[in-house]
């Protein structure tokens, strides 16, 4: 069942269409990547999902019901890209305050804070102030305050920025863990290698519109260009053949693009006939990074784009 369903969501600002008719749905327990260049409308979309903004048009269904910011805030944990904490407040009090704002009772909140602080080895921090923490430490605290109230939907906007590899790995494990326990995670970023690693499904938005929607593998298949990589037993001249065009990567390695109307077997057949040993043969799938750049390039959306409302 879909935990979250967006139907024809629109949000127009005076100078631009921030979100222009976007629909998709997210299954419970999945890790969902929301991708897009800067200024694509990701943050506006997330703010509508968290109830900070009201959509101009369209519907948000949360758990099958129309989304109600006041009562559903309890079930959402949001770590915005523009995030921070009260600098002068003690860390323990801060976590308690933010948990209570989500609707937890004091006792409940304390119990959960203890659990998470122990889990992430933050127990000694209780009486420290945020201004005494390093950036990485405060990111960790930020993550804890986001997931403390056991939200059904966790929204993380660039969660790894400012984290060293060790802490990033730690948080990544916690994200997987949360998903395993049934939480749904929306992961917004423009770092593609993290998406490939973490997400089950992605949506790519640009200029306020949805461009791509699907499973990571499915999208890769959709964008493959019939390219293969060949590792040969001996060095060869770059062959000429109607079935494919080849490009030498090194004397023994070729990259071949299969022409329309031919199959991969035609390529293999050619080399077998030539009695050239084939050590390996595999398909080259485009990386999400390539797909992203290909789809976004040329739209001039790398910086915040402005277009008049029609």
């Amino acid at each position: 069942m879909a935990l979250l369903e967006l139907q024809g969501l629109k949000k127009y600002y005076a100078t631009q269409k921030a979100v222009d008719d976007i629909s998709f749905s997210i299954e419970q327990g999945s890790i969902f990547g929301l991708l897009g260049p800067n200024g694509a409308g990701k943050t506006t979309l997330l703010r509508m999902i968290t109830g900070i903004f009201y959509p101009d048009e369209g519907k948000i269904l949360f758990n099958g019901q129309p989304f109600n910011a006041a009562s559903d805030a309890r079930y959402i944990g949001y770590m915005p890209e523009e995030r921070g904490l009260y600098k002068k407040m003690k860390i323990g009090e801060q976590a308690l305050y933010l948990a209570q704002l989500k609707g937890l009772s004091k006792a409940e909140a304390m119990e959960k804070i203890k659990y998470w602080f122990r889990r992430l080895e933050m127990e000694s921090w209780w009486n420290k102030k945020v201004e005494d923490l390093s950036k990485g430490m405060s990111q960790k605290l930020q993550f804890v305050t986001t997931v403390l109230h056991e939200p059904k939907l966790v929204i993380l906007d660039e969660p790894f920025s400012g984290l060293d590899p060790v802490n990033a790995g730690l948080i990544k494990d916690e994200i997987f863990n949360l998903a395993k326990q049934g939480a749904t995670i929306i992961f917004s970023t423009h770092r593609m290698e993290q998406v490939e690693e973490i997400c089950d499904k992605i949506v790519l938005v640009n200029l306020g519109k949805k461009i791509l929607d699907g499973g990571v593998n499915q999208i890769k298949q959709q964008f493959k260009e019939n390219k293969f990589h060949l590792q040969l037993g001996s060095a060869v001249q770059t062959p000429q053949h109607a079935a494919f065009t080849a490009k030498a990567v090194s004397p023994k390695q070729l990259e071949v693009s299969i022409s329309d109307g031919y199959k991969s077997n035609d390529v293999l057949q050619y080399f077998i006939q030539q009695d050239i040993t084939i050590e390996s043969f595999h398909e080259i799938l485009p990386s999400l990074n390539d797909i992203f750049i290909r789809e976004v390039e040329g739209t001039k959306a790398i910086t915040r784009a402005f277009q008049p409302v029609q």
Binding site: R47, Y54, Y86
Partner: protein
């Protein structure tokens, strides 16, 4: 609702627990007392001592110019402009040679004398001249003085006639109360307004705003902050009140027991000691009685009630505007041009207040005490002069209703600006844009 109270608690506790709050609360009354004491001391210590040699060659005054405090007159022989300094005098007064001695007097000194000193010298000489002339006309000074004293009424008591009630009024006290509460409201409105603005700005620059508004509505966050900081202000007033009552109780304990008894008798008998002149109240007892009597002429419950209302009303009116400004700025520098339109009316009302406290009936004062942006200060300046005497019930009620309506309006408007502004970064916002946010639909 419970979320507003959580925010309110945090805002309140984080400020009340702060060391600077405790210190300012305790030290302000002490500083105030110290300031008055210091000013009094300086005005006493700062007086110049002047010895004036009088060159009265015809001995017209018969050494009869009386010294006045720090100005001392002497009538030495053979003193002139050349030698008065070497004889140890600060100045030399030259009496003109004309017969009636009303010509031009000259005072010669090395340093120029202060204005006060010159005034004293002039008064002393005038008095001496008058004495001489009275003598020449055959009038005894003492006789004249006793007539003067006899012809003076002891006091002018103002009694207000309002329907069937008549009550004593006290202009001095009303002035004091009006001015004092006006200044308090002025200072706290600026102080707490700015405190709120900084608080909002802090949330914005620390980037916590978005985290919080994903749990609560921006309007709830703003309201919680406004109420929390308002409560800090009330707490401060309450503590000052307790401190003042405590200090005056402490002061009373130093007054001798019999004096207090005399004060009590005076109070029971309406200011006169029973048994004719047999028993005289001491001067101290009289003074204390007078102070207590004067204070009792004011309608304290009304004044304190109105003070709390106008403090809160004025605070709420301006605080939401300060919050709106705080939400669109990321640093104090950038906020300056935006705060001016908020602080200007506060300063303007302060000026009107200083005027209204002297002329509580002027049309400007009446209108300014009804119009919401100035009513908190100006109405407090007028209210001590009496309701319904100076301030009619219609004026008071319309002022109260208008203020309530206005702060609801400014809070609503500020809420809309705040909602948009708090999540907007890296853009300079003008009042024009803020107004657009405030009045656009949804």
């Amino acid at each position: 609702m419970s979320k507003i109270s959580l925010i309110l608690q945090r805002e309140y506790l984080s400020r009340v627990k702060d060391k600077t709050f405790i210190l300012t609360t305790l030290l302000t009354p002490l500083l105030f007392v110290g300031f008055i004491a210091g000013a009094t001391y300086l005005s006493i210590a700062g007086k110049e001592k002047v010895s004036v040699a009088v060159a009265d060659t015809q001995n017209y005054f018969h050494s009869g110019i009386k010294s006045d405090g720090d100005v001392e007159f002497s009538f030495p022989q053979q003193v002139d402009t050349a030698n008065f300094m070497s004889k140890g005098y600060t100045a030399l007064l030259i009496v003109p040679a004309s017969n009636n001695k009303q010509g031009e007097y000259t005072i010669v000194s090395k340093k120029s004398l202060g204005m006060m000193t010159m005034g004293k010298i002039e008064n002393s000489v005038n008095a001496a001249l008058e004495n001489r002339m009275l003598l020449q006309a055959g009038v005894q000074r003492e006789k004249l003085d006793s007539i003067h004293n006899a012809a003076r009424i002891s006091s002018l008591k103002a009694v207000l006639k309002q329907g069937n009630n008549s009550g004593e009024s006290n202009q001095g006290l009303a002035y004091g109360i009006g001015y004092g509460s006006g200044i308090l409201i002025y200072l706290t409105m600026l102080l707490y307004g700015m405190m709120l603005m900084r608080g909002v700005m802090e949330e914005k620059t620390n980037r916590i705003a978005e985290v919080v508004v994903s749990s609560v509505k921006p309007f709830e966050l703003m309201l919680g902050k406004i109420i929390g900081i308002g409560a800090v202000g009330l707490t401060q007033f309450l503590m000052w009140g307790i401190l003042i009552i405590g200090l005056s109780a402490l002061a009373t304990s130093f007054v001798p027991h019999e004096t207090l008894q005399q004060v009590q008798t005076l109070q029971q008998n309406g200011g006169v000691m029973p048994g004719g002149g047999m028993m005289q109240a001491s001067e101290k007892a009289q003074a204390i009685y007078k102070l207590k009597h004067n204070l009792s002429t004011a309608n304290w419950p009304l004044i304190i009630g109105c003070f709390i209302f106008y403090f809160l009303g004025g605070y709420l009116f301006y605080a939401s505007l300060f919050a709106a400004v705080g939400s669109v700025t990321e640093d104090i520098q950038g906020s300056r041009s935006l705060t001016v339109p908020v602080t200007m009316p506060i300063i303007f009302s302060f000026i009107v207040m200083t005027n209204a406290v002297q002329v509580p009936d002027s049309p400007v004062a009446i209108w300014a005490s009804i119009i919401p942006f100035s009513s908190p200060m100006v109405m407090m300046a007028r209210i001590a002069y009496g309701v319904p005497g100076t301030v009619t019930y219609v004026q008071l009620i319309s002022s109260i209703l208008l203020l309530v309506a206005s702060f609801l309006f400014t809070t609503w408007m500020a809420g809309k600006i705040y909602r948009t502004g708090i999540l907007m970064y890296g853009k300079k916002i003008t009042w024009g844009e803020m107004m657009k946010w405030a009045f656009k639909r949804a």
